[in-house]
């Protein structure tokens, strides 16, 4: 599958993806973009220009927290993890997303 353009991502979807990836365990910015790409089978490619503003926005809203720590290669990196507020937000957004995609699928399945 060809990668989707950034504009094709639904508004708010990036936040959901980030929260989901961060929920898997503390991870730095590069790691987040890699994981999104890998998990989505290279369909979703997050631009750094969107990723870092999104991370900082989420941090400011208190959904994720960040700490400086040592990366696997012994370098200083900023690791993001989910806060408890972020966990609730993630659950809520997953729920919303599932309902939305189910609804959209239903509509698309209707035979004319």
């Amino acid at each position: 599958m060809a990668p989707l353009e950034k504009a094709d991502l639904l508004q708010g979807t990036l936040d959901l993806l980030i929260l989901k990836v961060v929920a898997l365990g503390p991870v730095h910015g590069y790691g987040i973009s890699q994981r999104i790409r890998q998990i989505s089978d290279e369909v979703l490619q997050v631009q750094q220009g969107s990723l870092y503003p999104a991370l900082h926005r989420l941090e400011k809203r208190g959904l994720i927290a960040a700490d400086w720590g040592e990366s696997e290669k012994g370098r200083q990196a900023r690791f993001y993890r989910l806060s408890s507020k972020g966990r609730k937000q993630l659950a809520a957004e997953e729920e919303t997303w599932n309902r939305l995609s189910k609804a959209v699928s239903l509509i698309l399945q209707t035979v004319p």
């Binding site: 590069y30 750094q48 220009g49 870092y52 370098r75 200083q76």
Partner: protein, 859 residues
Amino acid sequence: MKNDPRNPGARQSIDPEIAHHIDLITEDFIARGLSPEEARRRALVEFGGREQIRQSVRAIHTSVIAEAVAFHLKAAWRFLRKSPGFSIAVILTLALGIGANSAVFSAIDAVILRPLPYPGGDRLTVIYQHDIQSRDANRFVAPQRLEDWNRLNSTFSGISGYYTDDLSELSGPLPEKVTEALVAPRFLQVLGVSPVLGRDFTPEEERFKGPDAILISYGFWQRRFHGDPEALGKRLHVGSFYNTIVGVMPRDFHYPNRDVDLWAVSAPDAPFAQKRTETWFTVIGRMKPGIQLKQAQADLSRVQIQLGRQYARPDNELSVEIVPMKQTVIGAVGSSLWLLYGSVSLLLLIACSNIAALLLARTAEREHEISIRFSLGASRRTIIVQLLAEVLGLTLLGAVAGLAVDAAAIRGFHLLARTLPRAEEIALNWRIALYSLAAAVATTLLCGLVPAMRGTRRGLAQVIAQGSRAQVSTRRPLQWTLVGVQVALAVTLLIGSGLLLRSLQELSRVSPGFDPSHVLTLQVSGSWGETSDIKGVVQRVDRTLDGLRTLPGVVDAATTDEIPGASWAYPFEYKIDGHDNIDRRVLADTRTASSGYFNVLGIPLLAGEPCREASTTNDLVVNRSFANLYFGARSPVGHLLKPATDPFQGQIRGVVGDAREQGLNTLPTPTVYVCVSAPNPFPNYLIRTQGDPAQMADTIRRRIHDLEPARSVYAIMPLTDHLADAALENRLRTMLLTLFAATAVSLACIGLYGTLSYLGRLRQREVGVRLALGAMRSEIVKRFLLQGLGAAAIGCALGIALGVGLSRYLKGMLYGVTALDPITYSGVVGIILVVAALASLIPSLRASQIEPVRVLRQE
């Protein structure tokens, strides 16, 4: 610090995070077999715009508004720097405009708007009594009635009162004149003020024959004791009493007036204070919280009616009037201040429209820049905000510079303390700074909004397509409207100042009916307590007068109760020869005159004889107006006059000429002079000298000291100074308004000049073409000139309409001219048209001095 990744304060800095990310991508590329340099380059490319990320992350962490403000202000600063001449001109104009405006506002704020400097000052009132029948305004109240009011009312938390004596303090090496306020009990409680040092009077001290006690003013404390706290407990010898100092009042406490040095008790239980017909106190009262003036008025009127039933005369003939204390303090100066405020506001408006015209021209020249901004994706709103931010930068700088103007003006106000009440309270404070800021914002909107809307109105495609200025409309109706507005406002101010100037001119032509030159005035200390032996006072004053008359260089000397030419009217109602006034009331201003009075003032004797030296006060002299109005062709000499409400009766001995003794701007009214040398214990002495009266002051002071060693001489000044003081407010008002009007006219001229010059530049090509086609230069000058004059004429017409509407606010300040004085109006029209023609001529000439070839070659 900022680069330390562990520092939580560095959270905003995204740089290390970006660096780490790029490192990892680089490693990916190296792993795929690229050289480290190539890998790094590819990584940078793949990562994309770092600056953009930095900015958007920073935007997340900083407040959006603060960011925008900083951005716009930065841009505005660049704009100001780019054209310093324009910026400085605008800033100076605004500094004057906003500065003058906030200076007058600071006076209005301190004098009119702010409550009196006493706690709960808006609840303080002054309470007057009026004689119901004669409407005589004998405002002073008997101590017993004051105590009754205080006891029986339910709306005041306290009522007190005062009167003042000018006395000598004798404990120093020389007698010093002091002003002593004699106060009823509760005086300081009612005002809500306590001494800074020592204490208020005790209830024992407020009783007759109680322990003697006196409070001194801060100024007296500094003057006599150099601020030594040991002053408490010292004894002063004031008049014929010894008093122990118990307290020092705060520095800014000046009630009832600035001159008061001492406060002592006037006990209501003194045997001499029992008569209900006595007139002593000016009464002050503090209303209870939440009580309105009307309620207090109703309450106290009820109390007075009750007293009328209880005591009959005189209480049943009295009514009560309550006036806010602030009103009595401000007096008539309020209308002058509002007039000035209106004028400086008009001036600011003129400055605004002037600047708006300048900005219009500038935004028009910046059309290209604006269209580029549009094409780069800026919204119209962003561009308008940016244009307004540029103006705000100018107005803010103007307002700050205006504060300097403000500070200078406030110092000027302080110098006027003698005529301007509460002048010492005028100060540069946060209220004024806030007001200036508000004025800056309002000014920004006024001068910036229209040019900004206008400049961003056209579609960007059009403007870019035009590419050159050739197609810019040259009619510019908005610009001419602004010129018209400036001229109109300037004309309005010019009319106001013209009317005031004409009044001053008329006043200077007036013959006062007396000769104030070569007359020295002074007072000698005395006490109201001396009135128990009025014969003794008369003898003392006559002795002093005789001593003065024998002094070489003195022509004559006299006394009176009020300074002629600088005093109020005291209208009394009279009965002539005991007849009741059936068809009309006989009203006359009543003043006192000693022997020599008419001689000193040069008032001519028309019939009978002037006042003579006598211990009886039955002689009266009337003026010509009185004689004409009430006696017609008959001679009034020999007839009897009796005040309608007084047992006293006198006989008219003579008739004198009319004199403007109530003030030079007041026509002489029928006047009765009561011949007495000592109307009170400290009458005004009037001494006619042969030479300069000021030079005689020392000689005269020494002579009086020889005659009365225990008394002090004060308020020595030439009579002409009194007259100048009385006219000061008027003169100052006129001067300031004239200054404002002149400024307004120059601003309007600059506006006219600037607009025509600008249009001249815009129409260079058109003029060039016309000239090339054979038009005469004079034809072109005429066209420009007529355009400028046309705008000025329309503005002039509007300004006159506005002036007619507004000049009625001047009515009380005019003398000898009506608010619609044709000379003033035609003079203003003449001035404006001449000045407008001059202002238009230069740019019109310049517009026609174009080399057609040069202009056409530019195409």
